[in-house]
């Protein structure tokens, strides 16, 4: 028999050792920690397809080797290929975009017609409006444009001459809502006008550079547009609280960057400096706080949460709506859940509808297609005992 060549032996042994290393390291770590060996979990359960899938996934997700390598590769890809992974898309001048938002615009509704998603948003919104109307409550719907709809020129140089785009799918929904008698605020037009008005670069963009959300300037534009609509329709009048504002600068690493979960990327990125305007009570100087007894309920997603319960607090859309309306509001926020989850939560909190005349429903544009749990029809909560329903004519214009 021919004597083996050293290189063949080295390659063979090296390869087998490399293959064995991950399992051996994991076993060693788990034994040291006194944990049960995860690799043996396969013998502890019925070998069904679902269990096997879960076993495989867990084995990889919790593997020390896999965790160590994952970060490093993602960082390498980011630095060398400008590739931010499957959910983020680097744009121009350091701008970061959330990929599903881009896909929503690019696919133009192809995905929604092919995938069996939940009911049509229109059905859920119209049903919600009808149920509210039975209790004498008005509904104002506020779709918030995706960041890439407002700043396409920051996504690709090919869009350099565009200063805003509108998805056909979004336009279609807005048209159908209008036909169905649902009142909506067109923030697309508002943001386009605001961008044109912005001549001073120091004003800053309407959306954050590294984040999927709007900036304080965007909040201000949206607040003015919503309040203007409420007042024009005569659904509600101005209150009597003259809120004040104070400058509250914050530093923020964008959620698109944080979503990557690669510490090396977060460490190299400089946080964005954001000049927020915190809404405060003129007398006490205390930050704005909601009032459960308010006649206005605002429901929505993280576009309501940013600057409001996040730092600096009381500087988000809710507080600025309150300032413009000169009255405190009630709010219910469900991150990434404005399509269905927030109404499910409203169902569990019937007291939030007490005394209400107007509900403002904010959701981000991409949720038209990708909303968590789709657009389910959720009933309103039963009226709490002892509460008298208003008649629908009580708060007419």
């Amino acid at each position: 028999m021919r004597r083996p060549r050293i290189v063949d032996v080295v390659v063979t042994v090296g390869f087998v050792l490399a293959l064995c290393s991950a399992g051996a390291i994991q076993t060693f770590i788990e034994l040291c920690r006194g944990q049960r060996l995860q690799a043996l979990d396969i013998f502890r359960q019925k070998p069904s397809a679902a269990n096997v899938r879960a076993y495989e996934k867990n084995l990889e997700d919790f593997s020390w080797v896999s965790q160590k390598l994952r970060h490093r590769m993602q960082y390498l890809q980011y630095v060398m290929l400008n590739d931010a992974g499957e959910k983020a898309l680097p744009g121009l001048d350091g701008w970061m975009f959330y990929k599903p938002g881009v896909e929503y615009l690019v696919a133009g509704g192809r995905a929604i017609t092919k995938a069996k998603v939940g009911p049509d948003p229109l059905a859920a919104i119209a049903e919600f409006q009808d149920e509210l109307a039975l209790r004498g409550i008005r509904l104002l719907v506020v779709p918030v444009p995706n960041k890439e709809s407002v700043y396409p020129e920051k996504l690709t140089s090919r869009a350099a001459n565009l200063h805003g785009i509108r998805s056909g799918q979004t336009s279609d929904l807005l048209d159908r809502l209008s036909l169905a008698g649902v009142e909506t605020v067109d923030l697309f037009a508002e943001f386009a006008q605001a961008k044109q008005r912005q001549t001073n670069p120091a004003d800053g963009p309407l959306y954050l550079v590294q984040d999927s959300h709007w900036s304080p300037s965007g909040v201000a534009v949206a607040a003015r547009a919503v309040v203007s609509r409420l007042l024009n329709r005569g659904w509600i009048g101005l209150g009597s609280v003259s809120y004040d504002t104070k400058l509250a600068p914050v530093q923020r690493i964008g959620d698109v960057l944080r979503m990557l979960q690669v510490p090396e990327i977060e460490q190299t990125a400089s946080p964005e400096s954001i000049s927020c305007l915190q809404v405060i009570h003129p007398d006490s100087g205390m930050p704005y706080r909601d009032d459960p007894e308010s006649e206005i309920l605002v429901i929505g997603d993280s576009f309501l949460r940013i600057y409001e319960t996040d730092e600096p607090e009381s500087a988000g859309l809710i507080a600025h709506l309150a300032k413009e309306l000169k009255r405190p509001l009630t709010s219910l926020v469900s991150d990434g859940g404005a399509s269905t989850l927030v109404r499910q939560e409203l169902y569990r909190r019937p007291a939030l509808l007490k005394n209400k005349r107007v509900v403002i429903w904010e959701f981000v544009e991409r949720d038209i297609e990708f909303g968590a749990e789709g657009w389910q029809i959720i009933p309103l909560p039963p009226v709490p005992s002892g509460t008298v329903e208003k008649s629908s004519g009580e708060n007419g214009p």
Partner: protein
Amino acid sequence: MKKQGGIIWALIVLSLAILCISCRGKSGCSAISGEDPHMTTKGTIEVTARLVEIPEGAIFKRELYDYATILKYQVFKVHRGQIQGDTIFVGHYNPFKPRSEAPDRRVKEIGGNLRVFEAGQIHRMALQVPIEDCFMGGIVNKYFGQDTGPIYWAVWTNLAKE
């Protein structure tokens, strides 16, 4: 030849020993009952219950947002406090993570030794109720409309045995 055979058998016996040790996991009563100082002091309710199922799509990795997921439990024993009925619905924050890694800036006071949620597991949990008083984010509830009882919030979750 005999020597080689002996080595192989020794390796097999060693592997089986490791297997036995690892299957046993942490020894002692606390590992079996899921009891620990956090468990007995956090929350207002403490139960041992079986995780009935994990509905399709209920547990997923976070992208931009953090969610709590409602899971259904069959309660065996109530150690502390009171619950309504034998079947309860419990919200777990970001359940794709091991409980020890789940707390973050927004939800700080949770934890436990459970690494992975699997249907059929027995959990000992310290709970609060209702969930609305403890968690303000998105709640993925595949059981919405099926039960009108309160939803519990899992503060501490340990793996236990029946």
